[in-house]
């Protein structure tokens, strides 16, 4: 996924020197490239083709590697039985609560640490320390505390999201140009107004990056937690299939994970960034995952 509207026209501009054999070919490719659907799903066509060929040639025994057809049938079956929708629902619910509490804690905490010099001095070493402990490394103790429960999984997701979010917000607030803050002050903005009118929107690109990074980590942590804690969910589906010597289920799980992240990005994160940061001409802090 790249920019949708503004820069597409650039792709249609005449290329410097189209060689004679390519000249007929290029406009067709370029026109295809401008189609959003083609651009989004096009790159997957050769991958699926390759997958299908490898499966058809039976390079690997079917206990290790299955083709797209088999996976699709399994997918269909899991939906029909209601297993996949239920597991997916469970995973998304956990992710939702994890992200919700992660943001409820991380966003205010990030801004407090960013805005107050002494809060920063006091908490920065702690932040660094706790960020360094891998999320999954908490699982053993979390299971002792909360058992194999939604709380345990949520805790891990919240944990993964809070620290990258706080650190992004601190760096985002630091990146708000000093002159812009001064301009607001000398136009009559008080301290609170400087915060709401300048610091908050000014730090938004970094917050968006933090949420994107945090979500990515949270998503991975969720699957890992489900594999270990699991009683349901996409991670559990994969783990359970493996236990039953059934690779097709593992494949289904992997594909579902990829598609979900893709959808989350395309339906939530990207439109949000397009409507704010891109529209305002502000540089995104990172291009991760785009």
């Amino acid at each position: 996924m790249t920019n949708i509207t503004p820069s597409t026209s650039g792709a249609g501009q005449p290329h410097p020197k189209p060689g004679p054999p390519k000249a007929r070919f290029r406009p067709w490719l370029v026109r295809m490239g401008e189609n959003r659907v083609v651009r989004t799903f096009g790159p997957f066509v050769p991958v699926i083709l390759l997958w299908w060929i490898i499966a058809e040639l039976e390079v690997f025994p079917s206990a290790f590697f299955v083709g797209p057809g088999t996976v699709f049938e399994k997918f269909d079956e899991l939906i029909a039985k209601g297993i996949l929708p239920a597991y997916l629902g469970d995973s998304l619910e956990r992710l939702f609560y994890g992200v919700l509490f992660g943001m409820l804690i991380g966003v205010p905490a990030g801004f407090i640490v960013a805005m107050s010099a002494w809060a920063r001095k006091l908490t920065w070493p702690l932040l660094m320390f706790f960020q360094a402990i891998a999320d999954i490394a908490w699982l053993p103790i979390v299971i002792v505390w909360f058992g194999f429960s939604l709380t345990a999984v949520t805790f891990v997701i919240v944990y993964t999201i809070v620290f990258p979010l706080m650190i992004s917000i601190v760096s985002g607030v630091e990146q708000v140009p000093r002159d812009v803050v001064r301009a607001a002050r000398s136009l009559g903005a008080g301290r609170l107004q400087v915060f709401t009118e300048v610091i908050l929107p000014g730090a938004l690109p970094a917050v968006a990056t933090g949420i994107r990074t945090g979500l990515g980590y949270g998503w991975r942590a969720l699957i890992a937690a489900e594999i270990i804690v699991g009683t349901s969910g996409v991670g559990f589906l994969m783990f359970d299939s493996r236990r039953a010597q059934e690779v097709t289920g593992v494949f289904v799980g992997m594909i579902v994970l990829g598609v979900l992240w893709f959808a989350l990005d395309a339906l939530v994160l990207a439109p949000f960034e397009r409507r704010t940061i891109e529209r305002w001409g502000m540089i995104r802090t990172a291009e991760a995952g785009r």
Binding site: D179, R182, E197
Partner: protein, 277 residues
């Protein structure tokens, strides 16, 4: 009536790394009358920005006093609007949102502030661009927005720190001419910092020349040019040329030595040709 009065301003910085004390402003005194345009001219690094920052309330002086409208300066205030070299517009606000910002902060009702905003957008030639975002404007238009945003607040004094230094030469000339036009219609009080002699003379009623560090007021020169002003006629005007030459010599004389270590302004190069060696 004196709008701005600076007396014996002195500012020292303590370098965070070396712990050494740097005197950024030695001893500066001058004043600006209401409705007057004053350029503060001096070589790079002589403390012009420091003086402006103290007047703006962004920084505090080590000693001396700054009075605006008879009151001691204490922190930033809408009475002292600032136009920045970096424009410092709000990227997340439209052109209209930027211009109405100051009035909104002071609780002026929407209808009133939009009426005022339209008036000032028209003054700077930005009517029709209300719904655009700053990044969609050219550099010249962005700085015109910067000026409109300050003037809409009707400050006692407008502070400008090399506001046209980051636009191309052609646009700069145009903006300077537009600024004199705006000044002639609205008669705001302007404190304009620059290291460009031509610009200082073309715009101002009086030019305050600062010596290099530790800076003092070397001289205050009254510009003998009629208003309205235009570049074409100014460049042909002997009075304009004499004033420019005089100030260029003055700056060259103030140079401590011939070394060109700092980013010396182009004026010193021109002065080199005139200097008696």
């Amino acid at each position: 009536m004196r709008t701005l009065e600076i007396s014996n301003l002195h500012k020292e910085f303590v370098d965070a790394y070396t712990g050494q004390t740097v005197v950024a402003v030695g001893d500066v005194s001058f004043s600006i009358e209401q409705g007057e345009f004053v350029s503060v001219l001096g070589p790079s690094g002589c403390g012009k920005t420091t003086v402006l920052n103290i007047v703006a309330g962004f920084d505090t002086q080590t000693s001396g006093s700054v009075l605006v409208g008879g009151k001691q300066v204490d922190g930033p205030s809408p009475e002292r609007g600032v136009v920045f070299q970096s424009f410092a517009l709000f990227p997340w606000k439209t052109v209209l949102g930027n211009v109405t910002f100051g009035l909104r902060m002071r609780g002026v009702p929407r209808a009133d502030r939009e009426a005022v905003a339209h008036q000032y957008l028209e003054l700077v030639g930005l009517q029709g661009f209300e719904a655009k975002y700053p990044h969609e404007l050219s550099g010249g238009m962005q700085q015109r927005l910067g000026v409109a945003r300050v003037l809409a607040n009707e400050p006692e004094v407008m502070l400008m720190d090399e506001p046209f230094a980051s636009v191309d030469a052609q646009t700069r000339r145009k903006l300077q001419e537009e600024l004199t036009g705006i000044f002639e219609t609205k008669r705001p009080t302007v404190f304009f910092v620059t290291h460009d002699v031509d610009e200082a003379v073309f715009l101002a009623d009086r030019v305050v020349v600062l010596s290099s560090r530790p800076s003092q007021v070397a001289e205050i020169v009254t510009v003998p040019l009629e208003r309205p002003r235009h570049w074409r006629s100014a460049l042909d005007n002997p009075d304009f040329r004499h004033t420019v030459t005089y100030l260029t010599d003055l700056l060259a004389a103030g140079e401590p030595n011939a070394d060109e270590s700092e980013d010396a302004p182009e004026t010193s190069a021109a002065a080199g040709a005139v200097g008696e060696g």
